[in-house]
């Protein structure tokens, strides 16, 4: 027994050095002021930024729902393909993820700009120009675009476990397409849905690149706020730590909500 435990030793050291210690440090800064005295001011100050927190949660939630709606049929479609085709399609789903995240988001900037490609094309047929960049819609679009594969893959994995004969059995018992989706496909994909929600919502709620590049100044998210505390003008790492802590609690709450279902789904994620 002891010998087996010792195998986990290296990771234990890693965990203490790079996970537990930093957490404690963040906790320490969050509960102290610049002079190092204990205070709850940082946490109470966050109330002032509640609109930013609310915006982050709402935009991330909208993006997650859109991802779910888009990914569900795709996941089903993929899971019904022949094994050889599944591999190719799986690659195509992941292909954008091989491109640098920053580059992908820059690309959207030039697409959505006032003089961007979309507006120019629309201009040719006499439409527009539309204000697309620097809106909350653009932020949601960026989130959906970047995190969609993280929703598709766990859904697809969960659905490959649904044997075709189970769908036929439902048809046989009188279920049309709608009932098959609500009575069989959705309940049987719950582990994948839970994993997908976690994997999209968590990065979306804490992103700062997407909102900065596509949202302009008016769509600040929690991530941007935290960044400002450490790298920006307002330089206040005590407040930044407190914000990180609150964000972490939000993420943990969200995850405790989904992991009840999600255990099975995680294993299949690439």
């Amino acid at each position: 027994m002891l010998q087996k435990k010792s195998l986990a030793g290296p990771y234990l050291v890693w965990m203490v050095a790079f996970i537990i210690a930093p957490l404690l440090i963040v906790g320490y800064f969050a509960l102290t002021d610049a002079a190092g005295n204990f205070t709850l001011d940082n946490l109470t100050t966050i109330g002032r930024y509640s609109t930013v927190f609310a915006r982050s949660l709402i935009l991330a939630a909208i993006a997650t729902v859109i991802c779910l709606v888009l990914a569900f049929p795709v996941g089903y479609f993929l899971s019904r393909l022949r094994a050889s085709k599944q591999h190719i399609m799986q690659m195509l789903v992941m292909l954008p993820m091989w491109m640098n995240f920053l580059l992908r988001t820059y690309a959207w900037m030039s697409l959505l700009e006032k003089n961007g490609i979309i507006n120019r094309v629309l201009g040719l047929i006499g439409l527009g120009p539309f204000d697309m960049i620097n809106t909350s819609g653009a932020v949601v679009l960026g989130m959906v675009y970047n995190y969609l594969p993280y929703m598709i893959l766990p859904l697809y994995t969960a659905m490959t476990k649904i044997d075709h004969s189970i769908i036929e059995a439902a048809q046989d018992l009188g279920a049309g397409m709608g009932k098959i989706v609500t009575r069989v496909l959705i309940p049987m994909s719950v582990p994948g849905i839970a994993t997908g929600i976690t994997m999209v919502f968590v990065p979306a709620v804490s992103t700062f690149i997407i909102s900065r590049m596509l949202g302009g100044g008016s769509n600040l998210l929690i991530g941007d706020l935290i960044e400002l505390q450490f790298l920006g003008n307002s330089y206040n790492y005590n407040l930044g730590s407190a914000m990180s802590l609150v964000l972490m609690v939000i993420v943990l709450l969200c995850m405790s909500f989904t992991t009840d279902f999600g255990e099975e789904g995680v294993e299949g994620v690439v």
Partner: protein, 348 residues
């Protein structure tokens, strides 16, 4: 007879990727009958079942249900239910909800759902299992749930696709009798698919022997066994000795270098025929008494009987006998007129 036909298939053609699976199949299934499609894998028996269930759209031909053409009607609108080969139970629902699935889709009243599901679970011997998770059930129990799930909807026809394939021998025999009992009790039509000839003979009122997408013979188990229409049926339904013969005249046939009295007539004089003799129908006697004499090559103990391989005139006979001869022994063989079955010779 014709007025109680419940399912009628007319000239059904099915092909997948240019490979013909069913080649103009026509068949009438009567109400309250236990019909079995029997044949080797790839003969089209499961496809025929799926055509009736609505899962396979025939390329041409008609499917009639109670006299109405139901081609193009999707499975969920057909009055048949299916028991699938791999059970296909819903893993996210418990036993009760699995069985209730069809009733709930029809918006049956909750009290009625309860009554019918519990009643059906009792019929299949799963009383008290309502709350159980599907994954905790044995193969036989899952099979019973699948059967209950179909029957609870009171279909006119229950389709069963090799439902006992995954069970062990003892359980399979038990379930065979159970299925026969259920069919009689529910008083509906069962259409059963199997490649196991013994299973087919045990349960069926009518056996449909299939090969290469074509029906070889339709008949009662006795007919199929005793009066096979061709060498394939004779070979597939139990072991048999099949020899070329010559029909000398009515009631007299020549094979294996000897003349035999038989009960068949109506063939042309000197018509080439095939003769089928079942292994258990050959009597072993002393060499002087026998119509044929042969040399015992091999003796295998099979439990109920001995299987002997006997060489005679270049043909290897299979004989089932309760008494063993010794390998190397010369024995006499007697075949009574009733034990000889004669078929027109087919090109094969």
């Amino acid at each position: 007879m014709d007025n109680n036909v419940i399912v009628s298939l007319k000239n059904i053609v099915v092909d997948f990727d240019d490979q013909i699976i069913l080649n103009g199949l026509s068949l009438d299934i009567h109400d309250k009958e236990f019909v079995t499609f029997l044949g080797p894998s790839g003969c089209g028996k499961t496809t025929t079942l799926r055509v009736i269930g609505g899962f396979v759209e025939p390329k041409s031909g008609n499917v009639f249900f109670n006299g109405q053409d139901i081609a193009g009607l999707p499975p969920y609108k057909r009055q048949v239910n299916t028991v699938f080969q791999k059970y296909a139970l819903f893993p996210h629902l418990n036993v009760f909800e699995n069985v209730a699935f069809g009733l709930r889709l029809k918006k049956t009243e909750e009290r009625e759902v309860r009554r019918r599901v519990l009643e059906m679970l009792e019929v299949v011997g799963l009383k008290g299992f309502e709350r159980r998770n599907i994954a905790t059930l044995s193969g036989g129990q899952q099979q019973r749930v699948a059967i209950a799930r179909g029957l609870v909807n009171q279909p006119k026809v229950l389709l069963l696709d090799e439902p006992l394939g995954a069970l062990d021998l003892k359980l399979r025999k038990e379930m065979q009798l159970e299925l026969k009992r259920l069919q009689r009790e529910m008083d509906i039509t069962f259409v059963y698919v199997t490649h196991d000839q013994e299973e087919a003979l045990t349960m069926s009122d009518t056996v449909v022997v299939m090969k290469d997408g074509l029906i070889q013979q339709i008949g009662s188990p006795e007919d199929i066994y005793n009066e096979p229409e061709n060498a394939f049926v004779a070979e597939f339904i139990g072991e048999s000795n099949i020899l070329d013969g010559l029909m000398l005249r009515d009631f007299c046939v020549e094979f294996a270098g000897n003349e035999f009295a038989c009960v068949d007539k109506g063939f042309a004089r000197n018509q080439l025929v095939q003769v089928v003799v079942r292994p258990e129908d050959i009597k072993v006697v002393s060499p002087i008494q026998g119509q044929l004499t042969g040399l015992v090559r091999e003796v295998i103990f099979k439990g109920v009987h001995f299987e002997m391989h006997v060489e005679q005139g270049g043909f290897e006979w299979i004989i089932h006998s309760t008494q063993a001869s010794q390998p190397g022994e010369v024995i006499g063989m007697c075949i009574g007129p009733d034990e000889i079955h004669i078929m027109a010779r087919t090109e094969d």
